[in-house]
Amino acid sequence: MIAPRSPLPAGTVHAGLQTAAQLASVTQRYGKVTALERIDLAIGSGEVVGLLGPNGAGKTTAIHLLLGLLRPSAGTARTLGHPPWSMAARTRTGAMLQIAKVPDTLTVHEHVELTASYYPRPRPIAETLDLAGLSGVENRLSGRLSGGQKQRLMLALAICGGPDLLFLDEPTAGLDVEARRELWRLIRRLAEAGGTVLLTTHHLEEADALASRIVILDRGRVIAEGTPEQIKRRALGSQIRCTTTTDSATAAGWPGVLNVERSGSALRLSADRAEPVVRRLLALDPQLADLEVRTAGLEEALLALTARKHETAGQEVAA
C-alpha cells in the first residue's frame, strides 16, 4: 500500500454522472502473468480520467479491455452500456493506441475521410482537421508528417467518428516538449467541449494537466485514486513513522492527516506537512520513539515509476 485510497471506493463514479465505461472486478491473465487483478474502474460521462502507472501496471490492458480488443479472463467490461467488442460500442468510441502507426501512403485528408466513413454520424472532416490541429497539412502524405503531426493524425482518426468516449493510450509518448504541449492543448479543448476521455500516462504532470480524476495503477491493482489536487497533496506530503501509544483514531482526526495505519506498536501516518503532526504526537506521548519522517512518499514512488518507464520507453507490449 503506497498510498491510501480516496474516500470513494475505486470503481465508483462521482454522484450525478452516468457511467460511460466500466471494468467490474476484472482479472486479466496472459498465460501465467496477471496483468490486472480484480480491478474496478469506472469512467463517468463527461469525466477525463487519467490512468497513471509504470510499465506493466496494466494501463494498456485496461484500455484494450474497454475497446473489446481483449476479453477479460474474469469479471465484466462494459463500454457505453454495451459489450466493448459490439458495433454498438465501437461506433461511439475512438482510440489512440500506443504503437499504432498509420500507413504512409495516404494523405491526411484521405485517412480522415476513410476512417470517418466507418461511423454512422461522423464529424465533418474540416472540423476534425481543425480540432486535431492539422488544417493546412491535409494534402500531405502521412509518411511525410513530423512526429507531432503524426500523433495529431492519430488523434484525428480517434475523434473523426464523433465518439462519445475517447481512449488515449500514452498520447504524448515519444514527443518533444512543444509537441506534447500542443497535444495537451487539443485534448483539453475536446474535454472542455464535454468529451469523456480515458487516458493513460506515466507523467503525473500530464495527468494533472488533463485529468479531472486520477487513478494510479501498479502491478495490476488500483493503488490510489482521487482528483489531481488530492493526488498531488498526497504526492507532496510526508510519511511519518513512530512507536507510540497514541491511538490511530485520534491521529486520524488531526488537520492535515491523510491516512493512519497501525501495525503493532508502530504508527504510520501520511500528512500534508510533517511538522504540526510531529508536534502533536510528541506532545501527546512523551515516550514516543523511533521517529522517522520521509517526505514525498508518492512523489518518490511516481518518480521511481517514471524513471523505470524512461529506461524502457518504447518497449511496452500490450502491458
Binding site: Y30, H64, L67, G68, L69, L70, M87, R90, T91, T93, A95, L97, Q98, I99, A100, K101, V102, P103, D104, T105, L106, E110, E113, L114, T115, S117, Y118, Y119, P120, R121, R123, A126, E127, D130, L131, L141, L157, G161, G162, R189, L190, E192, A193, G194, G314, Q315, E316, V317, A318
Partner: protein, 272 residues
C-alpha cells in the same frame, strides 16, 4: 466553427442508410489499398517485374521457336508465369502487407474501429485481383509482341479470368500467413513457400521436364492446379482435369480460410 454546438449538430445529422454507407466505406477502403500499391512502388514493382523478367528469359529467350506438344514454349509459359505472377501478387499483398501492418499496430487500431473486417479483406482482394490483371496484361503483351503468341480473343479473356480468379485461394493463404507470421519474418517465410512451390509445381520449367520427384509432388500443390487449368485453356497438354483442380483449389481455400480465422482470433495482442 463552434465546438460547443457539435453534439447538437450530430443529433440533427441524418445518417446515410447502412448499405449506402457500407458501399462508400468499401469504395474508400479499396482506394486506400490501391494507393498503398501505387504510392509505394518499392513494394509493387518487384511483384510486377519478376514474372515478366522470368518469362522474358525462360519463355522468350530460352524457349525461342520451340514447341511443347501442341503449343509454343512462349505460349505455354504465359500460363505458368501468369500463375506465378498472380500467386506472388496475392501472397505478398495479403501476407507481407498484413504482417507488417500488424507489426505497426495499425491492424489492432483498425480492429477497435467499427469496420467489419470482411470489408477490409474484400478491398484487399479487389486490389489484389486488379494487380494480378495488370501483371497478366504485361505478360500477354510480351507474348504477343516478342513471342509471336496469337490466340483468339476469347482465349485471352478466359485465361486472364481463370488466373486472376485463381489467385483468390492464395489471397486466403496469404491472409493466414499474414496473421501467423511476425512482421519481420513474413517476407522470408512467404518466399520460402512461394519460390520452391513455384518450381515444384512446374511454373518455372514445364511439368514435363521436372525431375521425377517433383512430378510426384506437383499434383499436391495448389499452384500446379492453377497452372494446369491455365494450360488447358491454351490447348496445351494437361495432367489434371478441371473438376479435380477445382476441387483441390476449393479445399485449399477452405483450409486457408479456417487457418486465417484461427490466426485472426488468436491475434489479440499487439507487436512491439
Amino acid at each position: 466553427m463552434s465546438i460547443a454546438s457539435e453534439s447538437l449538430d450530430q443529433v440533427t445529422f441524418a445518417p446515410a442508410p447502412p448499405w449506402q454507407r457500407t458501399l462508400r466505406t468499401f469504395r474508400l477502403e479499396t482506394r486506400g489499398e490501391l494507393m498503398k500499391l501505387l504510392r509505394m512502388p518499392a513494394f509493387a514493382l518487384p511483384a510486377f517485374a519478376f514474372p515478366l523478367m522470368f518469362y522474358a528469359l525462360f519463355g522468350l529467350a530460352f524457349g525461342r521457336g520451340q514447341q511443347l506438344g501442341p503449343v509454343s514454349v512462349a505460349g505455354y509459359m504465359l500460363a505458368t508465369y501468369g500463375a506465378f505472377g498472380v500467386i506472388g501478387a496475392n501472397l505478398f499483398s495479403f501476407g507481407v502487407g498484413i504482417a507488417s501492418e500488424r507489426g505497426q499496430g495499425w491492424m489492432l487500431l483498425k480492429r477497435a474501429m467499427p469496420l467489419p473486417p470482411i470489408i477490409h479483406f474484400l478491398a484487399r482482394m479487389v486490389v489484389g485481383m486488379a494487380f494480378s490483371l495488370l501483371i497478366l496484361l504485361g505478360l500477354f503483351a510480351l507474348g504477343i509482341f516478342f513471342g509471336d503468341v496469337s490466340l483468339p480473343l476469347a482465349t485471352w479473356v478466359k485465361l486472364a479470368v481463370w488466373l486472376s480468379l485463381g489467385g483468390l485461394p492464395f489471397a486466403a493463404f496469404g491472409l493466414a500467413l499474414g496473421y501467423l507470421c511476425g512482421p519481420n519474418s513474413a517476407p522470408a517465410v512467404i518466399n520460402l513457400i512461394y519460390l520452391p512451390m513455384s518450381f515444384a509445381a512446374g511454373l518455372w520449367l514445364p511439368y514435363e521436364v521436372l525431375p521425377g520427384f517433383f512430378q510426384t509432388l506437383a499434383p499436391w500443390l495448389p499452384a500446379y492446379h492453377l497452372a494446369q487449368q491455365g494450360l488447358g485453356i491454351l490447348g496445351a497438354d494437361t495432367h489434371a482435369s478441371l473438376p479435380q483442380s477445382a476441387a483441390y483449389l476449393l479445399t485449399f481455400t477452405a483450409l486457408s480460410l479456417a487457418l486465417g480465422v484461427f490466426a485472426y482470433r488468436r491475434d489479440s495482442k499487439s507487436w512491439g
